[in-house]
Each structure stands twice: as structure tokens, then as C-alpha cells.
Symmetry: C2
Subunit: 717 residues, 2 copies
């Protein structure tokens, strides 16, 4: 990590006008005053003001255009005077900050963290309580949070609701998911904000656990586009020991307001001072690609305190998974129903013959991984309990250490490691968080003993104990506990059905993956919209990488499971593009290995593509329509391009000016055939090679629901 | 354990009349039928019948008198047809059982478990579901439970409410506590059942966590006395993986109905078949002493599965405790407020000078314990976190392993063990159950490392996460988890503020103590009623031993803490009697050691008295008025007598016919002086010795709020 020009936090950087304002306000007894700071490049302007009645407000402009109109700040407390009114500004601090840091893994080699900061101290004379609002204005957006210093009159308090407003300047186009305390696995709806209410009912599709809460509540990251072409993204950063934020839309005023996830007692946050809220983030640009490139959310998280990060490595993997997801095989070893773990002797029961996580099958995957240079093999359904794991609100549902009789933990790990491959552990919890915590130490010791170094966790179904929600403070603290315990055991975590990421991987880089959206599995449950992957990088991925599990070559599931009529809403080469467009340090080749063996030419891209990067460019982007990325492999001269488009198809035009000037490269283009179509003809693809340089311009067809992938290797290397 | 005459479970023992009935019912197609079984001695009669509409009912008579009139059985389910109506009886099994078993510790050397059993299988043809009701009729009462066999149509279900009725035969006198989901620490109210409603409001006194739920809800064990002299006790046995039962009184019909404790989601039980409810128990006799001697609750629990119980031993102990309870010293090391454990360096902060658990003080207690033959020293307030442990709903409130700087864990344990004394660990959880579970393994390993073999746990304040209750299924499962984990580490548990005991110590004999009622600590918080200890053995102690912490010699607290005007509502010699009347394998001499040094003559009784017994007799008893016990020390010829009386005082007349005939004994009588009085003159006592035999009769004054204690040692031994 390299710091440049980092003045101490208390150093002011007043400009003359501000000094004058300060002097005037000093004379006015530090009552109502307005503050203003700008982004380092001057294009963003943040105003803070305490309005009549002592109501704190803020406002954000980008190149003179309203992004967030004057909006209220504050929190409603339970059983105590709220922190919303009656404030006077009693102090302010400003500073400028500029550092460049090196992520353990990421989309670029280094990340610049550059902002101007304003911290205003607000005091309620009536209650003698103080809170601070800290604003950081970056070139690409705003972050702000509430800070509650340690103080005699505010030690412990309970949040009834956070009342942070985001007053939008118009009826923007929105890419939204229904607000829900328990799932993010909805299809994105693209509509005007004014249309949210009318579309909500149809947007709330079924899920294993779901708690929608209002007719206009939506999730973050919320992607917006104004009629005059401003791209705005609202999310949060550094969600720790706090409840996850949703946004409640007032569709008369187009004002969004924070709506926190309640716990089992209906409380929305138990706070002990000193404490900070997560950062509320507004990324803004008139270029869509700038949203994708923003590192604002990461920057607002704390640097990692891990001293040794050598055990954290990006992972490319295959897995015994898609055959269960599609219904060809089963997680469970038997067809028994209603079992209690301690009362079944699995050595004596009748196997169902469909259990996928068996020694023979796993060895096939290990062999395949070793042959093709993959790091790891995920195996789900290896441990006892899958017979009735789901939807029963069962407390003791898994023990995380006892394999089914046909899965030899010791032998399979030995076999894998002899071939330089790791098995990825799977801990499905079924939402029973206490049960998981009770077994966590033992489960991680078990992993250490057999050489597992990564775990995929799962939280399918309602949280047990009932009443809690996947995104409330108490459960968020559980995910955090697992993450920190895993770090103690040098284990990387890929959390599914957990709370959406908020850039925590900067602080805890062993959080190498999350689900927190509809992933590829939904292609087997009815399908994702064809434009799904043109939206996710603007929404879900703003918080952190997603274990999207791309790479399905046999998109027609009925070819191997006639009972399943679902199909993958993508052409084959778009599946390749996703390794570039859906950034993740953890990338799965999710299809069954037999399907890869049928298309080894296309599979070559998955083998070649990097999972860690020195540089990233957005070549084209429009949310809901198309995204084209170019990324440079970590420590190498090779580049990889990926492009995804919606159901309409398009012609992509890119130039390769990102390549080193003067160098010669060989590009291998994996592209849809002219007659390809995500539904009608998904496997029609062409592969061609050509010599390219930084002067090359390419025009490339994307079929409906299609895309292309290009590997660009330096010639002769 | 010795079994005698134990027929296999399926052996019927029909008498001719029953056979005839059975034949008739067989002809009627197994529809409505009435069953009847009697206790082994024939004095109790249990009837079971399925009434019109398929409603199961039962009825209990004692010597022909109604104990429980015809009462409904069943459970109301959530989101499913209830198990209350529409039943037909489809099977019945009867058997007789008689065994004598040896408890690890107890009131007698062996315990006879002798009952006749009826198990009726009930089927709802409409839902194709089956449940069984199993009745066991003992000479001293009835136990029955619901059994839910494994079956296709009833795998998982949620209890909305259990609807078990206890229809009483009259407006009995009741010794009751307000029903409450979170505390049992109320003063017992003695009134007619018809008066409960009018007295409820005043009965609900303040507590650190309390959730009373109705105007006529009361707790168990509920002690009743009918106008014609029947003593009836209603409680439950073997409360495992179920919610704790209260009793809701219909004061028009004098019918009690089960009322379970809800969890945070409002559910009253998540059940997976096969499963059983706890036993519902009705102990009955026309002699009050028979209630005290009943082992019905223990007998309804399963035998222990522990193979090695050598590590479980009764404990007599002193402790650094009363000085904090009375406000003379503090648990906390500093006077800081609002601390976070990880952010305070206790080596650098200013001590308050009142911290009681310091090396010097603890060594004084170790010396005292060693000198007087005590097994152990309890030390509370030894670990960091006491600065703001209480009432803040703090999650990470204690870590259970970090001592304050003035408490040297290693040195004090070494010192204690060098003198053959153990330090008793203290784990106050502040109700934060997840935090305790997270630290449990480490905390128990810590105990093993330093040689602690017993822990006092505490659950003061609301359960965290909020919404849960001290007695709901999820939290009951926590206590059970702690108990089982402790057993793995060979640790004995004394649980305070936990759910009331239900005889589980038969199965888990490391549960050597519980609080679950107002203990001696309340003598410092305003006082217990003078008749408190004449009631507890009829109520609270029916479920298991209580860590009542008697032995306060300096009953006027203001003599050492002028700010505390509370006083102990007992004479000094009554404090001695409690070691006999309040049975527990864990007995504390709770006063500060300086006070014992002022009365070493009286203290001799505490030194002498046993904590484990070969035999127990009730010499006199009337709930609310007086109790006199005689107990024979385990493996010895010596007996100990204790007598406690109410605020009126009385003359106790006992004969010593329980002594071995022909043997000569020396009795030492510790008794109130004639002018003694629990309030006005509590420390006036006399000690006299006399020679006694089995023919001796004694007349002994008990002062108001007083009592006496006698040690009877075989002459020449």
C-alpha cells in the first residue's frame, strides 16, 4: 500500500470563501450553516446544511446537474428522542486524501482512493447528544456515514429506522429488485420509478425464503439512469454490525429513503457507541462504463489487517453441482424422508443410486481438473443430512463433518492433492445459523486436517431461529463471524444466500465470493432473462464479486434430464464472455465435464482466461443492453475481452487501443455464428484467430442473448 | 441400577373387567372406549376416554376423591389441523414397571420407580395422523405425555398451543407465582385460586427480565391444597427440546390449561417426529410430606447414559459473592461505563478499589475453605466485562477467559489445589446466549486447563437475541447444549436464571444445581417472605435441587453496608436448618467468612452437615407453615434434622424413631433462643447437646421466621 499526499485527518484545507463563511458563522454562534465540498476533479459538489428545526440535509450535484436534491439525514430511535431534528452544527473537519493501494486480488493491480472529506459534528442541545456525518466526495461519487462517538448521553441505543433520504431529480429509469428481508434472487425489473408500484406484484416471484415488505421497496445496489443521461448507483459500503439497507420509494416525490432489515424483535439495529453506520454510496457519471469501473465501495472499506495473505488465491474450479441443480443427480444419498442425523446408520440404509458426490464421480472431476489446469473441485452433497434439509426449519440439520458412505474424505483429498487440485468444502446450513456456529470450530478443524482451503457456504430457506432475516444485524454478524473464524483457519469463503457484499473483501480478502443474486442455477429453475448479465455488473457486482458459475455449454437441460424443460438463456460463447464480464476471483466452469469434452475448442477459452487482473477497461456499456470489458491478466501481457448483450443482439465495435503500442498479439475470437440465438440455436459458434495490435478495430456480431470472448496473447509467447 | 419385575413393554395386565370392556369395544369397531388403570397400591385411578367429537380426555382420582376431573388433552397446531378432536382410539398398551435405581447423588441411596402404564394410540382418520398418550400411574401421582411417532403425514409440525387441561375439583388453596416467560424470581402468593386474578398485579414485582402474560397465568410446580385436605402438585418432567409449560387458570371452572412459552416468532414448539412432549405430572396425597418425598419427577426422566460419573461429586462451598450481592464490593474492576471488551486495556485503567475478586481476598476464602473442610470457593466477577454487563442487550458482553488484572487464574488455582480446594468457575452470560455458545468450547478448555470442575452459569436480563424468552424451546435447547458440552469436559453445572428443573439431573447428573426461584440473594434486595422456605420444597424443589445459598449469619446487611437496609428474613439457626430442608448436592455457606468467624460454634453445623444422603424422612410438613426433615448422611450413621417455620413461630414436636434401634447417639441442637425473632432478634440462638436414641421425643421451639438444626452423631464415632 502506498500513500501519497495524505495530510493528517485534522488538517483543514479551507479555501478563502469557506474561511469567510466560517468567520460569519462563528459570529452567528455556530447555528445554521451551509457547507460545501467538491470532488478532487471539481465535478461533484456536496452541500450540507442544517435546516429549520435542526434537520440535517445534504445535496449532491455532478457537473452542475442535480444527482441528489436536498435530502434529509437522521435516524429514528426506539424509546428515545430520535436523531433527526433539533441539531446544531458544533464542529466541522475537512481533509483531502489520496492513496493508492494494492488489493490482494482484483480487477486492477492498484486502486486509487482519492477524495475530499467533510465531517460535521451535530449536537442536540436538548438531549446533549452528538453525532457526526462524514462525507467523502470522490471523482466518481459520494460516500457518507453516521458516526456515533462515545459519550455519556448516548451509550446504547436501538434504531427504529434509519431515515436517510435520496431525493432524486426525476422519474429515472431504474434497474430494480423487490425489497426483501430474505432474498435477492429476483429477476431485475427495468422500469421508470413511477412504474415500480404497478410492477411489484409480478416482480415478487417465489423463493425458498422471502419477505417482501412494501409496494415500492427496492434493493441496493440500485442502478438508475436519468432522462438526461446520468447514471446513478446507490448502495452501501462496509456493512458490519448493522442491518442491511433497502430503499423505500416515495413515488410522488421520487425520493428514496433507507429502510433497514428488522430482527426477530422488530428492531433495526442495536448500537453501542462508539459506532459508525455503513457508508451510504452514490456513484454517478454521465458514462455508464464509469459506474462499472468505480472502486468507491471498496475504497470506503478499511484496509485489511491480515498480516499474511499468501493463503488467499483466486480459484478456477469445476464441480459436482450442475447435475444436482438440473435434477439429474441428487445431493442426498437415500430417498428417506424425515431423518434425524443421530438416529440413522447410513452404512446400513439403501442408497438411492442417484447420489452425485460419490468417490467415482468426484475422481472423474479431479482428473478433469488436473488435466485442464483447474485449481479445485467443488463437491456438494458430500455430507449426511440432505434427505430433509430443506424448508423444515430444522435446527440440527447438518453436522458438517460426517460424509455419506460413498464419499471417502481422506482418500479423495489425498487423490486430489496428489494431482495439485483441492476439493472445495461445502457447508450448506439450511439457514440454521446457531447449528452452524455450534459446529464451526470442528468443521474448520476438519477442513484443515484434510487440506481443504475454501468453503462454499449456503443459507437456503428461512433463518432458524425463525423471526430473524437473512439481512438483519444479528444474522449479518453471523456471516461476519464465519468470515473471521475462517480467516483464523486460513480458509477462503464463498457465501451463498448471505447478505449482499458491500466491499468487505478489502478488509477481509478471504471473502472471495458471494451469490446474493440470481445466478446460473436459475437457468435450471425457469431461466434468467436474456439481459440478466448486462445488468448484474451495474447492480449486484457494485458490492463485490459474484460466484455466478458460468460456462454452461449444454444449454438445453432436457437433453440430459427430460423432466426439466428449463434452458439457459444464453448462447454458448456468451457463457465464455461471462468469465470476463462477471468479475470474480473465483470462477467456476459449471457445466458437467462430459459437455466440455464435446466442445474442447470452445473450452480452451475457459482454460486460458485469467481470474486475477492487472488492468480493466470498459469498451462499451449500457445497462440492460450490453457490456464489453477488456482485462489484462495479472502479471502477464495477455488480455481477455468479453461481451454480453440482451435478447436483441447487436453489433459490437471495439478498438484494441488498450494493447501495448508496438507489440504484436494473436487474438482468438469465440463468437456466435450469424444464426445463433440464445433460445433457438445457442450452440452455434465460430472460433477464429487473427493477428492484432493496438491499432486494430474489430466489429463483432452478438447474437440475441449472445456474446463473444477473445483471448489476446502476445505473439510468440 | 437394579430392575425387579420388569415385564416387557407390550405385556398387558388386564383384569377381567377390562378384558370384558375390550371385547365389547372390539365389537364396536374400536370407537369410543374408556380405559382405566390404577396405581400399584390401588389408591389412584386414572381414566382415559375419547369423548364425543373424538376429544381425548383423562380423569384422576385418589382414594375415590377427584384430583383431576375429566379434562381434555390435545395440541393446537399452526397451519395444520390440530391434534385436539376427531380422534379414534386405535390401540392401547399396558404394562407394569418396578425398578429400583441408584442416583449419582440424592436424598436417598436408592429410588424405587414403580408404576402401571397405559399407552393409548389415537388416530385422526381425516388426516391419517396418529399420536399416543402415555400415562404412568404411581402410588404418589400421575405422569403422562404426548408421543408423536414417525409417520408419513406428521413429520414436522409447529405447536400453536398445547391444550392439556387439569380440571380441579374445587377452589383450592394455591401457592403460586405469576406466570412469566422470563423469570421465576417472584414471591410465592398463597391464596385461593379464585383470588389469583385479584392478586396478580401486586404479585408481579420488578425483575431484570420479565414477561408476565395473563391475569390468571401461573407457574409450575404449582402446589395446591383442597379444602378437604388433598395436597396436589402439578409440574412437568424431562423438559427437553420443548417449550416450558405454564398454567392458565379458568377461574370460573377452576380448570388449569397448559400455556407454553413462545419463541421470537411466537411459535411454541417446532417438532420433528418421532418426538415426545415432556411429562405432565400430578403428585397427590392426603399427607403433605408425601409430596416432599415424591420421586415421581425424577422417575419420569431417563436413566443417565453417562458411563463414568466418578467426576460428579456433591460440593460444599464458600464464595466471594455475598459482598457483591449486598453492595459492599463490586463485580467490576473499574467504574468505567460503556466499554467494549476488545478496546480496553485493563492493565492500564484505574481500578475502583472495590473489586472483590482480587487475589488477596480469594486467598482468604481458599484458606478458610481449607481450614474448615469445604470443597470449593466460588468467585464471581473474576473476568472482564462487568462494567456494563447488565441491561444493555449487549451481544459480546463477556469472553469467559480473560481475568481482571488482580485475579491470577493460574496462581489462585495452584494455591487452591495445593490445599485440596477447587475454585468454582462463574460464567455470567447476561442472557447473550449466542455469545456464550461462541465461547463455550474455549471457556471449557480453559476450565480444564486450570483445574476448574464446576461452573455457575447466569442468565440475568433479557435473552439476546431479543424476542426470545428464558423458557422457550430455542433457549431451553441452549441450556441443554451447555449441559451436554460441560459433560464432555467433565464439568458440573449450576445454572442460574435458567429454566426451572424438571428432574433432568437423573439423565444428566452433572446438573448439580439450579436457581429458578428467589434465592437468598433477594434477602439483600428487599427480603424474602418469612415463610418462603416453608413453601419452596413444595414448589420449586419438586423439579430438582436449588442453589439457595443459605447460611447468612449476619442477617442485618446495614451493619457492613449502611446503604443497604434490607435484612435476611430468618433467624440464624433457621439458616442452619436450610442445609437440611432445602435439599441440594451443592450447598453454599453464603455469608462472608468474617461473619462465620464471629459464630464458630454455630458454624460447626455447616461444617458437619452432609450434602449427600442415604435416607430422608419428613417429620412434619405443612406448606406455608413449617417443614421438618431428617436425613441420614451418605455412607454414615449420622443424621441431620432441619426445621423451618413461618413468621408465626411454633413448637415442633418430633420423635427420633428413624434412628437405628439400640444405637446411642449424641444430638447437638442449634435452636432459636426463646426471644429470637427473624426481624427483631435474629442472632439469638442456643446450642445444646444431649444423648438420644430411637425412642427419644423432642419438643423444640421455633421462633417467628426461625427454625432449628440438629446433628445426630452415633456416640463414640
Amino acid at each position: 500500500m502506498k500513500h501519497r499526499a495524505t495530510p493528517p485527518p485534522t488538517t483543514p484545507f479551507f479555501r478563502p470563501k469557506q474561511l469567510l463563511t466560517l468567520l460569519c458563522l462563528a459570529l452567528l454562534g455556530l447555528q445554521a450553516r451551509a457547507e460545501e465540498i467538491k470532488s478532487p476533479n471539481g465535478q461533484l459538489t456536496l452541500n450540507f446544511d442544517v435546516q429549520q428545526g435542526g434537520v440535517p440535509t445534504y445535496r449532491l450535484r455532478y457537473k452542475g446537474r442535480e444527482v441528489i436534491k436536498t435530502s434529509k439525514l437522521g435516524l429514528e430511535l426506539k424509546g428515545s428522542t430520535s436523531l433527526q431534528t433539533g441539531f446544531t452544527q458544533t464542529d466541522k473537519q475537512t481533509r483531502s486524501f489520496d492513496e493508492t493501494w494494492t488489493p490482494v486480488w482484483g480487477e486492477s493491480k492498484t486502486i486509487r482512493n482519492h477524495y475530499n472529506e467533510l465531517a460535521v459534528t451535530l449536537t442536540q442541545p436538548e438531549t446533549q447528544r452528538t453525532m457526526r456525518v462524514r462525507f467523502r466526495v470522490f471523482d466518481d461519487g459520494l460516500g457518507f456515514r453516521y458516526e456515533f462517538p462515545r459519550q455519556p448521553k448516548l451509550d446504547y441505543f436501538t434504531i427504529k429506522e434509519e431515515r436517510t433520504q435520496f431525493a432524486l431529480a426525476g422519474d429515472h429509469k431504474a434497474f430494480w429488485l423487490p425489497g426483501d428481508y430474505d432474498t435477492q434472487e429476483y429477476s431485475t425489473v427495468t422500469s421508470k420509478l413511477s412504474e415500480v408500484r404497478g410492477l411489484m406484484k409480478s416482480a415478487v416471484t417465489g423463493n425458498a425464503s422471502q419477505t417482501p415488505f412494501s409496494a415500492t421497496g427496492v434493493q441496493t445496489p440500485l442502478m438508475l439512469k436519468s432522462q438526461d443521461g446520468l447514471y446513478i448507483n446507490i448502495h452501501e459500503a462496509a456493512l458490519i454490525d448493522y442491518s442491511c439497507m433497502h430503499l423505500e420509494l416515495d413515488d410522488k416525490t421520487m425520493t428514496l429513503e433507507s429502510h433497514l432489515t428488522p430482527d426477530a424483535a422488530g428492531d433495526k439495529g442495536l448500537i453501542q457507541t462508539p459506532a459508525n453506520s455503513p457508508w451510504r454510496t452514490v456513484i454517478v457519471s454521465d458514462k455508464a462504463g464509469d459506474i462499472l469501473l468505480s472502486k468507491l465501495v471498496l475504497n470506503l472499506n478499511e484496509p485489511t489487517k491480515f498480516k499474511d495473505v499468501s493463503w488467499i488465491k483466486p480459484v478456477k474450479y469445476v464441480g459436482v453441482w450442475w447435475e444436482m441443480i438440473t435434477g439429474k443427480g441428487t445431493w442426498s444419498y437415500t430417498n428417506m424422508e424425515n431423518i434425524k442425523l443421530d438416529s440413522v446408520d447410513f452404512q446400513k440404509v439403501t442408497p438411492n443410486g442417484t447420489h452425485a458426490a460419490n468417490n467415482q464421480r468426484v475422481k472423474q472431476y479431479i482428473d478433469f481438473a488436473a488435466q485442464h489446469g483447474f485449481d479445485a473441485v467443488l463437491v456438494e452433497g458430500w455430507n449426511i443430512g440432505w434427505e430433509d434439509w430443506f424448508g423444515k426449519h430444522k435446527d440440527y440439520v447438518f453436522d458438517f463433518v460426517t460424509p455419506y458412505p460413498d464419499f471417502n474424505v481422506q482418500e479423495l483429498n489425498r487423490y486430489a492433492q496428489s494431482k495439485n487440485v483441492r476439493i472445495i468444502m461445502h457447508h450448506e446450513t439450511s439457514g440454521s445459523v446457531r447449528n452452524y456456529e455450534r459446529h464451526l470450530d470442528t468443521a474448520f478443524q476438519f477442513m484443515n486436517k484434510y487440506g481443504y482451503n475454501a468453503v462454499k457456504t449456503g443459507y437456503v430457506g428461512d433463518i432458524v431461529p425463525l423471526g430473524h432475516h437473512h439481512y438483519d444485524q444479528w444474522v449479518n454478524n453471523h456471516y461476519q463471524y464465519v468470515l473471521e473464524k475462517a480467516a483464523e483457519h486460513k480458509i477462503m469463503v464463498n457465501g451463498h444466500e448471505a447478505v449482499r457484499p458491500t466491499g468487505l473483501a478489502r478488509t477481509f480478502p478471504n471473502l472471495i465470493g458471494n451469490e446474493a443474486a440470481r445466478g446460473t442455477e436459475y437457468e435450471s429453475f425457469g431461466g434468467n432473462n436474456a439481459d440478466h448479465t448486462t445488468i448484474l455488473p451495474f447492480t449486484r457486482l457494485i458490492g463485490g464479486p459474484m460466484d455466478y458459475t458460468p460456462g454452461i455449454f449444454q444449454t438445453r437441460i432436457s437433453t440430459f434430464n427430460p423432466k426439466n424443460n428449463s434452458f439457459v438463456h444464453s448462447t454458448l460463447t456468451r457463457q465464455l464472455a461471462l468469465y470476463v464480464t462477471m468479475y470474480s476471483p473465483l470462477q467456476m466452469a459449471a457445466d458437467m465435464i462430459e459437455h466440455y469434452n464435446q466442445h474442447l475448442d470452445a473450452f480452451q477459452f475457459i482454460k486460458d482466461v485469467a481470474v486475477d487482473w492487472d488492468d480493466t477497461k470498459v469498451l462499451e456499456a449500457e445497462p440492460g443492453d450490453y457490456i464489453t470489458y477488456a482485462r489484462k491478466a495479472k502479471g502477464k501481457s495477455s488480455w481477455f475481452v468479453g461481451s454480453t448483450c440482451d435478447e436483441n443482439g447487436r453489433t459490437s465495435k471495439i478498438d484494441l487501443s488498450f494493447l501495448d503500442r508496438g507489440k504484436k498479439y494473436v487474438a482468438t475470437i469465440y463468437a456466435d455464428s450469424p444464426d445463433a440465438h440464445y433460445e433457438k440455436n445457442p450452440q452455434a459458434y465460430q472460433i477464429r484467430k487473427l493477428n492484432v495490435t493496438s491499432k486494430t478495430k474489430l466489429t463483432q456480431l452478438c447474437a440475441p442473448g449472445g456474446g463473444y470472448a477473445i483471448s489476446i496473447l502476445e505473439a510468440g509467447k
